[in-house]
Amino acid sequence: MKSGWRVILSIVLIAALLGAVCVGVGLITGGEWARIYSTLDSRYHVAAYVDYVQQVIAVFQEALFSPAA
């Protein structure tokens, strides 16, 4: 298990560093979050998923943390 942890953490760290470098390079070379979000929304309907998740979280918060009626 210890060697497994070591291997997994190494892979995760390397992949995270690579991803961070890609994001940094993309943002430096002209990437924009708004344009990316609009593209993803038109393709995958991201806004609908975001709204759905926000509504679920609100329901859970109301059920768990609101005072009993």
Partner: protein
């Protein structure tokens, strides 16, 4: 003998002393000790012969059974290593009669009676004669008439049948004894091949390598013989019932609690991996700007990395946390509710 005793330390003290006593008796019974030494080759060879025939666990069981019965040894309890030593002696003295001792005698009495001088000078002389023949077959036979038949058999194979017949016909008791055990025509035909000195020379092949092998074998046996105490676990029934009654619900509760982060990590891992795969697909298919592709690709790689981490966390929860908890409870119950007693 000292080296042999040192090499036999893998045996129990009783068995070791028994083996050394047999060898000492062997030396006492022969007049030509040098010939016997040459026939035995080396202490390490004898040690490996005994080691191959010695089973420490079986000997312990035999000793326990014997102590419980409090009876004398019978024929079935003869240790294998004793038989091996006797076999060695019989190889050195091919004409040694095995049927000499009656079956009613005890095992140890049987073993020792093969070597003891029971008041028949002719018997000892037979042993001496056979040893002399083994090592130096060309030595002329002694002038004793009663013992002439045997040397002739060994030295000259062709007239052995005649000599054997003569001894069988002899009314002398000693010759009758020799005839009983040594004058068989088919055995006489095979005897010269056994009694030639070449047999001993053939044994002395690669003695150095063999000694190293023997020492390795003895060391292995020493390692195996350590910690061979047989223990039996006996349950403490009351404690066991109480432990089961308490540990079972507590363990189920702990497992249930551990299942929450386990399943949560699984769900998050699935979400992250799905998001990462979707980001990879989108990065190479839906963005016209290279900078946007790089940003989406970077995010997808990070999502996959987190998904992999969460997936490993799920495996760790299942394998180590939950499995370890259950194993720990079982081990705890084993240590609390069972006691180990010698069998």
């Amino acid at each position: 003998m000292a080296e042999l005793g040192r090499l036999l330390t893998f045996m129990s003290e009783e068995d070791r002393q028994e083996a050394l006593t047999l060898y000492a008796k062997m030396f006492d019974d022969v007049t030509d000790e040098q010939a016997l030494l040459q026939a035995l080759l080396s202490p390490t060879r004898q040690a490996v012969i005994i080691a191959r025939a010695y089973d420490a666990n079986a000997r312990k069981l035999q000793a326990r059974a014997k102590s419980r019965r409090d009876e004398g040894e019978d024929e079935e309890d003869t240790p294998d290593f004793v038989l091996a030593i006797l076999h060695v002696y019989e190889e050195c003295v091919p004409l040694l009669p095995e049927e000499e001792v009656t079956e009613e005698d005890s095992v140890m009495a049987n073993q020792f009676s093969l070597f003891e001088d029971d008041g028949q000078p002719t018997e000892e002389s037979v042993y001496e004669e056979t040893f002399v023949l083994h090592e130096t077959p060309e030595v002329p036979s002694q002038p004793d008439e009663g013992e002439e038949a045997l040397p002739e058999e060994e030295a000259a194979p062709a007239p052995e049948g005649e000599a054997a017949a003569e001894t069988a016909e002899d009314s002398d008791e000693v010759d009758a004894f020799i005839a009983n055990f040594s004058i068989q025509d088919n055995e006489i035909a095979e005897a010269p091949a056994k009694s030639t000195p070449l047999v001993l020379e053939e044994r002395r092949v690669d003695s150095v390598d063999e000694e190293e092998e023997v020492r390795a074998l003895v060391e292995d046996l020493l390692d195996e013989s350590e910690g061979d105490v047989v223990l039996v676990r006996k349950p403490r029934v009351v404690l066991l019932v109480l432990f089961v009654l308490l540990a079972l619900p507590l363990t189920l509760l702990a497992v249930g609690l551990l299942l929450i982060p386990t399943l949560l990590s699984l769900v998050l891992a699935a979400v992250m991996i799905a998001a990462g795969c979707a980001g990879l697909i989108a990065a190479f298919g839906g963005f016209p700007v290279l900078a946007d592709i790089l940003v989406v690709l970077g995010c997808a790689i990070i999502a996959l990395a987190l998904g992999l981490l969460l997936l490993w966390l799920f495996i760790w929860f299942v394998g180590t946390a939950i499995g370890g908890l259950i194993r720990g409870v079982i081990r705890l119950g084993g240590s609390w509710c069972y006691k180990e007693v010698a069998a």
